[in-house]
């Protein structure tokens, strides 16, 4: 975490980029062999620039679908999603989705993986240094030439984060990015995520079903209902960073949210 912060200060790249997201009356359905599966229903949600929001809900409720719609990889059935007032109708490197699975390209090195965005847009030759910076930011400098199969789960997810961050995204969409990691790596990466967010100042939306993770990392927790997902409740986490998971307020909030999800503790 401190390493990440130092690295950033050394780069002196203080250009904070973030974006506001405005979702209005969003509905989405899948066509499954003739039958229609309603996934999202009447979603209204605004995310301010630089805000870190968590989407919490039962598994399969449509959280990930919502993220894909915001990324622009899929188009909604009805309603609108705007980024700074502009309708999102296609994917864009300013809004990057990080998946639960690192989905690194196994056929090429970590360095080439991280460079993918710059390479695809034809700016890699001029901006090679940014790849090294991104790798340093996530602590993978020594693994630039490794192949993805040589990385541990935590390192692979770090590489996936670097692949997103190298593009200097204004919005980071995190689809359970720590879901597959062992608990210790998970705790480390949670801290690092918050540090990155605070340093870079991007807007972030995190999908998770870990309530503790949601209250520890984000400033607002949106609770979704069972499919078709509607917004069921909303909690503001008004606590200063860095937060401690034993903070009584945080523990109380966690219990309250679990109650909303129908899980009394």
């Amino acid at each position: 975490m401190t390493a990440a912060a130092t690295a950033l200060r050394v780069e002196g790249r203080g250009a904070r980029r973030s974006i506001a997201i405005d979702i209005r009356n969003l509905n989405h359905a899948f066509d499954l062999q003739g039958s229609r599966l309603e996934v999202l229903q009447s979603i209204d949600l605004s995310v301010a620039t630089g805000e870190f929001v968590a989407l919490l809900g039962p598994s399969g409720c449509g959280k990930s679908t919502l993220l894909r719609l915001v990324s622009g990889l899929d188009r909604p059935t009805a309603g609108s999603i705007r980024a700074d007032g502009v309708i999102i109708d296609r994917p864009d490197p300013s809004r990057i989705l990080v998946f639960q699975d690192p989905t690194l390209f196994p056929w090429t090195s970590v360095w080439r993986n991280v460079a993918t965005g710059l390479d695809a847009r034809g700016v890699l030759e001029r901006q090679k240094g940014r790849v090294d910076d991104a790798l340093r930011l996530v602590g993978l400098t020594g693994f630039a030439l490794a192949y993805p199969h040589q990385l541990s789960g935590g390192m692979a997810q770090r590489a996936a984060l670097a692949r997103a961050l190298v593009n200097d995204p204004a919005l980071l969409l995190l689809d359970e990015p720590l879901g597959q990691l062992d608990s210790l790596t998970r705790l480390t990466l949670q801290t690092e995520l918050v540090a990155l967010w605070r340093d870079k100042g991007f807007t972030a939306i995190l999908v998770t079903h870990d309530v503790e993770e949601a209250v520890l990392l984000t400033s607002r927790v949106i609770v979704l209902s069972e499919r078709p997902a509607r917004i069921k409740a909303e909690f503001t986490v008004d606590l200063p960073y860095p937060r401690h998971r034993d903070n009584p307020e945080l523990v109380a909030l966690r219990r309250q949210i679990l109650g909303t999800l129908g899980l009394e503790t």
Partner: protein, 332 residues
């Protein structure tokens, strides 16, 4: 075992040292079996003369001497030692095989001329025909390289298109499924109509045999690329051409190589047929020519050359594959 050796060494080092260096038995047996082949060839009378008896006996005898030397010298480590340890049983078997083969053909005539040939007969073919065989190898390799190159390149490009584009697959897949199972030789009459020279026709036949497996495997490889990779690419700003060249193609490469290996075997199988189509040179032409004159020893000798060529090319392709697919090491 090693504990026991150490114990012995402590008690009586000289005895132990002698014990740790016995004769190397696999090499000894190999020497014996090769010597047997030399002795059978030289000492027993031939039922029918084949020629090159002396040369064969000398060559096999030299092998026997070399193995005997190795059995005594017993290299301890390194590449030679590993190779010999691994292939030791094969060297023994080859000596036994040569002995029995020579005995059953040239010495007793149990397997009669002209249908069977002793090893001396094959050697005699190489000794007397080597110039013509070398030219034939050159011609065959030219035909194979052209056919395989054209076929693999065409099959690869079409395969990528079939796997990538739904429109292309809509029209292409049914045609491929119809053409795929047709034996390549069935195209010969049509081929003759369409191609100006028999050489072009032969190249086409070899290209068809190698191109179809490359096409099928590449298309299935491209079609089965993990969709999430495309999502990542699109999200990072990749255009369709980038998705094809940097995601679909490398991801499908393991499949492509399976297709290339299959294509290589098929192309060799049809090489003989392709060269029967009025070629003047080439191993296939030589085989059919010799078959007409019952020169079966020449046929067998040529088949051995073809097997070795094919095996060499397979080995070459393997080394290319291992180089390109290092990233797969974690998965295989």
């Amino acid at each position: 075992m090693s504990d026991a050796t150490q114990a012995v060494e402590r008690v009586a080092p000289s005895v132990a040292r002698r014990r740790s260096r016995p004769l190397w038995t696999p090499a000894l047996y190999a020497s014996a079996s090769w010597a047997a082949a030399a002795i059978v060839t030289k000492s027993l009378p031939n039922v029918v003369p084949w020629g090159s008896d002396n040369l064969f006996a000398i060559l096999v005898g030299l092998g026997a001497v070399a193995f005997a030397a190795l059995a005594v010298a017993r290299p301890r480590t390194g590449w030679l030692r590993d190779t010999l340890d691994y292939y030791g049983p094969w060297f023994i078997a080859i000596g036994v095989w040569l002995t029995l083969w020579e005995f059953a053909t040239a010495k007793t005539g149990w397997l009669p001329k002209p249908f069977f040939s002793p090893p001396t007969g094959l050697l005699h073919v190489y000794v007397t025909e080597w110039r013509r065989l070398l030219i034939c190898i050159g011609y065959s390799l030219r035909l194979w390289a052209l056919g395989f190159g054209v076929g693999a390149a065409f099959g690869y490009v079409v395969g990528v298109a079939l796997g990538w584009s739904k429109h292309f697959a809509y029209w292409g897949m049914p045609i491929l499924k119809l053409i795929g199972p047709v034996p390549v030789t069935a195209w010969i009459p049509v081929t003759f109509y369409f191609f100006p020279t028999t050489f072009d026709a032969s190249v086409f036949i070899v290209a068809l045999a190698s191109g179809i497996p490359v096409m099928i495997l590449t298309s299935s490889g491209v079609a089965s690329v993990n969709r999430a990779y495309y999502d990542v690419g699109r999200n990072l700003g990749a255009k369709p051409w980038y998705l094809i060249s940097r995601i679909a193609i490398p991801s499908a490469l393991p499949h492509t190589f399976v297709g290339l290996f299959m294509g290589l075997y098929y192309s060799f199988a049809v090489l003989v047929v392709a060269e029967i189509l009025g070629a003047k040179w080439g191993l296939g032409w030589y085989i059919s020519f010799q078959t007409n004159y019952s020169g079966y020893a020449n046929v067998y000798a040529t088949l051995v050359i073809m097997s070795l060529l094919c095996a060499g090319l397979v080995k070459l392709l393997f080394s290319v594959r291992d180089r390109l697919l290092v990233w797969q090491k974690g998965f295989i």
